[in-house]
C-alpha cells in the first residue's frame, strides 16, 4: 500500500521547529534553542505568532542567509561562546483518544492509555563561518509507525532534518541578492514558505489513527524518512523572486551516509536514484502582509523490492513518480494579531512496474496512476499566546487496488480535517488539543472500509504538551 508516512514526516517539522523556536520569557535568558541563542530573538521574531515551524519574513531571510545571522560560535578559531551552547532539546508528551479502540483497526500507533513522553529531539547548528551554517536534528520516537514489536509499535531513533548551507548576500542601493548552496537529507527541507510537506504545521498530528493511511504524493510523503541526501543551489532576488534546483539520491555508504544514519532500511524507505527537485516562487510583502505563490516539483526514481528490498541493492526495477504542484501562502504579522493561510495542490503521475512490490510496500495493478493531493491550513494567534488552527488534507486520483487497500474499489480519495487550539503560557511551552476528523477514506464516507469500519471510526483527538529548551 502506498502510504504517506505521517509519522516520519511529522517528526521533522516538529523538531526542527522547535529547535528554531526560541525561548523563554520568564525563564533564564539562556534557556533558548539554537537559533534564538545565536540571534537573541524570541520565537515570535522568526515564527508567525511564535508558532513553529511557520516562518515570518525575518525567519525566511535567516534561513536563506545560511543560519549565519547573529553571534558567532567560531568553531575553527575555537572561540565558541560557551555561554550560548549551540544545542537545544525538544520534548513532546501527549495522550491520544481513539474513537475505535480495537487494536489494529481504529487505533493509532500510540496506545490510547498512554500519557507519556513520546518524542525527544536534539538540535545543533547555527553559524559556522560568515557564510556557512547548519541545522542538525536527531529524534527519538517512542512509537514508530514503521516498526512493530508484537502487536505494539515500538521506538526508533535516528537523524532527522539536517542541512549544511553556504550562502552569500549582496546588498546594493538598488538590489538585494541572496544565493547559496546546500546539502540536506530531505527534499523540501530547504523551503521557507511552509507549504510543502516538511514544514507544514500539522507536525503535532502524528499518532493519529488514520493518518498513516493517507495517500500522499511521493515527493511529499515517501521521501519523508530523511533517508536521502540532496545537493541544491538557490537564489532570492529583491525579496521577490526565488528559484532553486536540487537533486536527491539515497546514500547507502560513504562519508555522507551520516546524514541518513538510523533513517534507512526500514519498510517504506525508498531507495532513490538521482531525482531532480525544482522550486520557483514569487514573494510579495506590503505593510504587515506577505504573499507567496509558487511551483514545486520533483521527479523521483525509486527502486522496487527485488524481491525483498535490501537497502544496498540497486539492481531492482525502478518506478517513476513525477510530481508538480502549485502552492500559496498569505501571512499577516502585526502584534497582537498573527494570521497565516497556506494552500498546496500537487499532481502526481506514476509509472509503475507491474508485478513487483514498490518502495512503499504496494503492488500496483495499473501501469500508470495519477494522484492529486490537496493541503490547506489557516492559523490565527493572539499575542503569541492563544492560537487556533484548522488543517485540511484531501486526495483524489485513479483507483488501484494494489496501492490503496482501505476501500472497496481501490480509490485513494480522501478527506480529513484537523481543528486545534493551543496555549503558550511561555514561548517555549505549548499546551494543545487537536481533533482529527476523517470524512472520506478509500473513496467512501460510510462503513464500507475493510472490517466494516467507516472513516469516522478513525477519528482521533490528542492532548499534548511540548517544551523546547
Amino acid at each position: 500500500m502506498k502510504q504517506s508516512n505521517l509519522l516520519g514526516k511529522g517528526r521533522g517539522p516538529l523538531l526542527a521547529l522547535l529547535g528554531m523556536a526560541s525561548l523563554a520569557a520568564s525563564m533564564d535568558a539562556s534557556a533558548i534553542p539554537v537559533f534564538a541563542r545565536q540571534t537573541g530573538f524570541k520565537c515570535v521574531a522568526c515564527h508567525v505568532g511564535g508558532e513553529y515551524p511557520q516562518l515570518t519574513s525575518l525567519g525566511r531571510m535567516f534561513k536563506l542567509t545560511g543560519y549565519t545571522m547573529g553571534d558567532a560560535n567560531d568553531i575553527f578559531n575555537l572561540t565558541t561562546n560557551v555561554d550560548r551552547p549551540p544545542v537545544a532539546v525538544m520534548l513532546q508528551t501527549a495522550r491520544q483518544f481513539y474513537t475505535n479502540t480495537t487494536p489494529a483497526a481504529g487505533n493509532g500507533t500510540a496506545p490510547s492509555s498512554s500519557f507519556d513522553l513520546q518524542v525527544v529531539s536534539l538540535f545543533a547548528g547555527g553559524h559556522i563561518t560568515d557564510n556557512l551554517g547548519a541545522f542538525v536534528q536527531w529524534t527519538w520516537n517512542k512509537y514508530d509507525g514503521n516498526i512493530t514489536s508484537g502487536s505494539q509499535y515500538t521506538q526508533s531513533s535516528g537523524i532527522d532534518n539536517t542541512e549544511l548551507r553556504w550562502a552569500d548576500r549582496i546588498v546594493t542601493p538598488t538590489k538585494d541578492i541572496i544565493y547559496g548552496v546546500y546539502t540536506n537529507n530531505r527534499s523540501t527541507m530547504s523551503d521557507v514558505w511552509n507549504t510543502t510537506e516538511n514544514w507544514t504545521s500539522d507536525w503535532i498530528g502524528y499518532f493519529n489513527a488514520g493518518g498513516a493511511q493517507a495517500p500522499g504524493t511521493f515527493m511529499m510523503g515517501a521521501t519523508a524518512q530523511h533517508a536521502e541526501v540532496g545537493v541544491g543551489a538557490y537564489g532570492f532576488l529583491n525579496k521577490t523572486w526565488y528559484g532553486e534546483l536540487g537533486v536527491y539520491k539515497s546514500i547507502t555508504h560513504g562519508p555522507l551516509s551520516f546524514m541518513t544514519g538510523g533513517a534507512t532500511g526500514s519498510t517504506g524507505v525508498p531507495l532513490l536514484d538521482p531525482s531532480p527537485y525544482l522550486r520557483l516562487a514569487y514573494n510579495k510583502e506590503w505593510g504587515p502582509n506577505s504573499f507567496e505563490v509558487g511551483l514545486h516539483g520533483m521527479t523521483s526514481y525509486a527502486h522496487n523490492y527485488n524481491p525483498v528490498l535490501n537497502y544496498s541493492d540497486w539492481s531492482g526495477s525502478v518506478s517513476t513518480y513525477r510530481d508538480l504542484g502549485v502552492d500559496a501562502q498569505y501571512q499577516y504579522v502585526l502584534d497582537p494579531h498573527y494570521f497565516s493561510a497556506h494552500f498546496r495542490l500537487t499532481h502526481e503521475a506514476m509509472n509503475n512496474v507491474l508485478g513487483v512490490t514498490n518502495a512503499g510496500g504496494g503492488t500496483p495493478t495499473n501501469p500508470t496512476d495519477t494522484l492529486n493531493e490537496t493541503w490547506a491550513d489557516v492559523t490565527y494567534i493572539y499575542r503569541a499566546k492563544y492560537g487556533a488552527m484548522l488543517f485540511y488534507h484531501g486526495a483524489t486520483g485513479s483507483s488501484d487496488t494494489g496501492l490503496y487497500g482501505m476501500g472497496p474499489t481501490g480509490s485513494p480519495n480522501w478527506q480529513s480535517w484537523m481543528p486545534s487550539v493551543f496555549w503558550a503560557p511561555y514561548q517555549n511551552v505549548r499546551l494543545g488539543y487537536m481533533y482529527t476528523f476523517y470524512t472520506q477514506m478509500g473513496g467512501v464516507s460510510g462503513n464500507q472500509l475493510t472490517g466494516g469500519l467507516g472513516p469516522h471510526d478513525f477519528n482521533t483527538s490528542m492532548l499534548y504538551a511540548t517544551i523546547v529548551y
Binding site: 535567516f62 545571522m69 561562546n81 548576500r169 546588498v171 505593510g287 504587515p288
Partner: protein, 227 residues
C-alpha cells in the same frame, strides 16, 4: 562513485569557502571588525528595509520602524538602550536585545549614521483622512487643557526631529501608536523607575497620558502621512 566524489567535492568546497572570513558581507554580530555599514546592510536591512532597496531604511512591516533619515543621535541612544537592556518594551525584548548585545559603541554609532544618511520615502500605508486632519491639529496645537504641548514644538514643524528628539514624519502609525501606549503606561510607573519600559522617554509620559486613545491614533495617522 563519481557522484559521491562530486558531492564530497562540493561539500569540501563549501567548507573551504566558508572558512574564509567575509568581513564585507558578514552577519556576525559579535565580531567588532565588521563595519556598521555591513551590519546595516546584512542584518538590519532584513527588517528595516524594502525589497529591491532593502538597504534604504524604509521598512515594509509596521512592526519595524522606518530608520531612514532618523536623527543619528536618537538612533545611537536607542541602540545603546537595547544593548544595555534599559529599553524594555516588548518589541525591544523580542527583537533588539539579542541583536545589539555584543555590538561595540563604534558599530552602533556607525549604524546610526548609516541610517541618518538614508533618504526617507513616503509611507505607502494609507492614513484615514479624518484621523489625519484631527492629528494635524493636535500636532500643531497640542491639548492645552490637558497640559499637552504642540508636538511640533520639540519634534519640529515637519516632524523632522532634532538630535536626541526623533524624526516622526513618515513613521508607521502602528509603531507610533504603540510607543505612545508605552509612554502612557510608563506614566504610572514613576515610583518604580526600574519598571519603566522607555526610561529615556520620560518627557513623553505625561504628554501621552494627556492624549485619549482616539487622539493617539489621530496624531499617529497624521505623522505617517507626512512626507
Amino acid at each position: 562513485m563519481k557522484r559521491y566524489q562530486a558531492l564530497l567535492t562540493l561539500t569540501a568546497l563549501s567548507v573551504t569557502l566558508g572558512a574564509c572570513s567575509n568581513l564585507e558581507r558578514s552577519r556576525d554580530l559579535s565580531n567588532p571588525q565588521v563595519s556598521g555599514n555591513t551590519l546595516a546592510q546584512q542584518v538590519c536591512s532584513t527588517c528595516h528595509g524594502g525589497t529591491h532597496m532593502s538597504a534604504n531604511g524604509n521598512s515594509i512591516n509596521p512592526t519595524y520602524p522606518n530608520l531612514a533619515g532618523q536623527q543619528a543621535e536618537y538612533l545611537q541612544t536607542e541602540l545603546q538602550e537595547f544593548h544595555d537592556q534599559t529599553r524594555k518594551d516588548k518589541m525591544a525584548k523580542d527583537y533588539m536585545w539579542g541583536l545589539s548585545s555584543r555590538l561595540t559603541t563604534e558599530q552602533m554609532k556607525s549604524i546610526a549614521e548609516y541610517y541618518a544618511h538614508q533618504k526617507p520615502l513616503p509611507n505607502p500605508n494609507q492614513s484615514n483622512p479624518a484621523l489625519v486632519a484631527a492629528g494635524q491639529k493636535l500636532f500643531a496645537e497640542g491639548v492645552s487643557d490637558k497640559g499637552v504641548p504642540a508636538c511640533a514644538s520639540c519634534h519640529g514643524a515637519n516632524a523632522e526631529g532634532n538630535g536626541p528628539i526623533p524624526r516622526l514624519a513618515g513613521q508607521h502609525a502602528n509603531y507610533l501608536y504603540k510607543q505612545l501606549m508605552i509612554f502612557n503606561s510608563d506614566a504610572g510607573r514613576e515610583n518604580h523607575p526600574e519598571a519603566l519600559e522607555r526610561p529615556h522617554g520620560a518627557a513623553m509620559e505625561n504628554i501621552s497620558h494627556g492624549l485619549d486613545d482616539l487622539q493617539k491614533h489621530q496624531v499617529a495617522a497624521y505623522l505617517q502621512s507626512l512626507r
